[in-house]
């Protein structure tokens, strides 16, 4: 142990000296460092400024961060990414559906029969678990395999900080931190990842705002729902030549609406429970870097697509089992599922939804990806359309048209579709995100706020839309 008096003497001396040299010590030291740095660079570095690429970077930045072009370019980029996803995913999706649902599933059932499985085991395994997993793969894999790599390419190119730059003043006005633009962008990939990314925000107040509102970024588990419903219902109300444009606009509209809600709730939170000053920060616009194309595709497939898909499968399997069970266990004359659906129907009607949709959102809390498959399974069961398989069994679907037929048989209208799109944007985060929020905030209170706030917003918005719609149309 060192003698404490000596140490205290040193500290006392430092205080005395600090007083002597005055308070510009910090600036003096910083200046010395800069002087040294510039001397060293002068010695070692030669630069041909005429041909510098910085000029090109600056030129690009002048356009993509300009007041006039900044926002249109952002929407355009988002539009291109979505368009490629919608167009590109269609074909592999139906191919996978044909393979997994039309060909392999009957084989598995025959196999089960042949080795003497009882009907319930055969149904539980192949109509419940297998079908929901196969459905998730067919519906989710193609759009993810296209969307994630495209997003990663944009990220590697260096576009995200420009988004943050463009939106900085909006965030400031809503009382949030400008870096929230980055965490919001990450949320478009996955909300759990977006919540973790909020660690780049130092101020606890602004970080909480970023965490609570991250769920308003439409995550990858929800894009396919939006795209599917927009294609079936929105695309159908306009002439055929405009249909893909109309559905694309609808999806972008929902994403932009999400951003609007994110700003609104950031503003509301910072004016009420999370009051405080907006902190300033430096944001460096990194140089544009041409992404290493194949490597990026590979890592984003491994890091993101496969991990997210795996998570969806892990949650889809028990959900499939649960759906099969509640559809096949009867209380009196009614299965548990149909009893619950009828119970929820009244409330669902108020919101322009129905019992099936609400039950699906309860079953799908673990993963947004399985909402549509669950809705289809439950609709088939309630409406009694049979593909020759039985209650609570996923229908054999290999195209968008078949999905449309089922939903229309379930009495879906344009209003239902619009409301499901809205509710898909505005409902509780998935269980992974909820758990991540808890880990990051260490607070049950804020976790509950972050989980419940969007659901309430969803109830209010769908209720309002439905009532106004019904008054105007009927």
């Amino acid at each position: 142990m060192k003698s404490n008096t000596n140490i205290e003497n040193i500290i006392a001396l430092s205080e005395e000296l600090r007083w002597q040299i005055g308070d510009d010590f910090h600036d003096n030291l910083a200046e010395s460092i800069y002087a040294d740095a510039s001397k060293i660079v002068e010695d070692a570095v030669t630069k041909d400024n005429q041909k510098s690429k910085f000029r090109l970077d600056a030129k690009i930045d002048k356009i993509v961060t300009s007041r006039i072009w900044g926002f249109p370019i952002m929407l355009f980029v988002l539009g291109v990414v979505l368009w490629l996803t919608i167009i590109g995913a269609n074909y592999p999706s139906s191919l996978l559906a044909t393979l997994l649902l039309d060909n392999i599933q009957p084989l598995l059932k025959t196999f089960g029969n042949n080795i003497g499985f009882p009907w319930w085991l055969n149904g539980f395994l192949f109509d419940g678990i297998y079908l929901s997993v196969a459905w998730v793969i067919a519906v989710m894999l193609p759009p993810m395999a296209i969307f994630f790599p495209l997003f990663t390419l944009l990220e590697d190119f260096g576009y995200l900080p420009r988004v943050a730059f463009n939106m900085d003043s909006l965030f400031k006005k809503s009382g949030a931190h400008g870096k929230q633009a980055l965490t919001m962008s990450m949320g478009f990939g996955c909300n759990a990842a977006g919540v973790v990314a909020t660690r780049i925000i130092d101020s606890p107040r602004e970080r909480l705002i970023a965490i609570i509102t991250n769920n308003f970024s439409l995550c990858n588990g929800r894009w396919p729902t939006q795209i599917l419903l927009a294609t079936i219902f929105i695309g159908a109300v306009v002439p055929k030549s405009y249909s893909s444009f109309a559905s694309l606009s609808a999806v972008i509209g929902i994403a932009v609406l999400g951003i609007f809600f994110m700003f609104f709730f950031s503003w509301a939170l910072s004016k009420t429970v999370l009051k405080g000053e907006v902190s300033t920060f430096n944001l460096e616009l990194p140089p544009y870097r041409p992404p290493v194309f194949w490597k990026t595709i590979y890592t984003s497939l491994i890091d993101r697509t496969i991990i997210v898909l795996w998570r969806a499968i892990v949650f889809a399997a028990p959900a499939g089992a649960l759906i099969w069970l509640i559809s096949n266990i009867y209380i009196g004359n009614e299965s548990i599922a149909s009893w619950t659906v009828h119970f929820l129907d009244g409330f669902g009607f108020l919101l322009g939804l129905n019992g099936v949709i609400l039950l699906a959102y309860i079953v799908a809390i673990p993963a947004n990806e399985i909402v549509i498959p669950t809705i289809l399974m439950l609709t088939v069961m309630v409406t009694g359309i049979h593909g020759g398989v039985g209650d609570g069994v996923l229908f054999e679907l290999d195209s968008v048209t078949a999905t449309a037929d089922i939903l229309k048989a379930g009495n879906w209208t344009l209003l239902t579709a619009v409301n499901v799109m809205l509710f898909s944007l505005l409902h509780n985060p998935c269980s992974t995100t909820i758990y991540t929020i808890y880990k990051e905030t260490n607070s049950i209170k804020w976790t509950v706020v972050a989980s419940v706030l969007p659901v309430i917003a969803g109830f209010v918005i769908t209720f309002l839309v439905t009532q106004i719609w019904r008054i105007l149309i009927y």
């Binding site: 040193i10 000296l17 030669t46 995200l160």
Partner: protein, 259 residues
């Protein structure tokens, strides 16, 4: 007999011994040396980290991507190196959380070697952090990354002069294309084993009255803690009134270098 001799000579020779390299990913146990990876945000630290450890941490072109302290390992010539990827910072002077994590690790984590990753095309701005790190630690190597971008911007860097001015080895790399990584590994290994001695640059151009105070203070510190090598830097921090450093002196943490 001959064969054995040749092989052992190769193992120790100054050129890179590719056979001696094993990327261990996250298998970090019984390591011989700790290596810290520091640098400004967005200079490709995570890419260098991946290239050294064989891990595939996602990298992205936006500052602040690495929020956690990532750890990995590699083995070279039968010695195991644990690699710690620190959050990117512009400075170690002020007190954001990132800067504190990075500074505390270099200060108290006592890495055998600190690899400072810089953007070759923005060297001057990056040197601010480099010079601060060189005040804290003696064993460092400058990883002059993104050489491909510097080349595209028509920037040429004389690495020998740079190395002489900074007093530490300088290794040019393009980690995204795996260029220069063998040389970096070789240099890390030589530094860790004491085969290269650094004589790092200390901040000059300090106003006289400050320099005098710093000297007076650092002499006192050296007398009290003879094992400390960065007394000058501690003097800087004391003059700034850094409560963490004062606390570390009081508890003896500064002398033992334990976290």
């Amino acid at each position: 007999m001959m064969e054995n001799k040749t092989k052992s000579a190769c193992d120790t020779c100054a050129h890179f011994n590719a056979d001696g390299l094993k990327k261990l990913g996250v298998k970090i146990d019984n390591f011989d040396f700790v290596v810290a990876l520091a640098g400004n945000p967005n200079t490709g630290k995570s890419t260098v980290f991946n290239a050294l450890t064989g891990l595939r941490q996602h990298t992205g072109n936006w500052p602040g991507k690495t929020v956690n302290r990532a750890e990995g390992a590699f083995e070279y010539n039968k010695q195991k190196f644990k690699l710690v990827d620190l959050p990117g910072t512009y400075s170690l002077l002020s007190t954001s959380e990132d800067e504190e994590v990075a500074r505390n690790f270099i200060l108290f984590g006592k890495p055998s070697v600190t690899v400072i990753v810089v953007d070759a095309s923005r060297l001057e701005r990056n040197l601010n952090l480099v010079l601060q790190i060189l005040e804290i630690t003696n064993n460092a190597v400058l990883c002059l990354n993104l050489m491909d971008e510097a080349k595209r911007n028509n920037i040429t860097i004389d690495t020998r002069i740079l190395s002489k001015d900074l007093g530490i080895p300088v290794v040019p790399t393009s980690a995204r294309f795996q260029k220069g990584i063998p040389e970096l590994i070789q240099t890390i290994s030589e530094l860790a084993n004491g085969k290269i001695k650094c004589n790092p640059h200390k901040i000059k151009n300090i106003p006289k009255n400050i320099e005098k105070s710093v000297q007076e203070l650092s002499q006192k510190i050296e007398k009290e803690f003879p094992t400390i090598s960065n007394s000058r830097w501690i003097a800087f921090r004391l003059l700034e009134g850094d409560t963490q450093i004062i606390e570390a002196l009081r508890t003896g943490k500064m002398a033992t270098n334990e976290i």
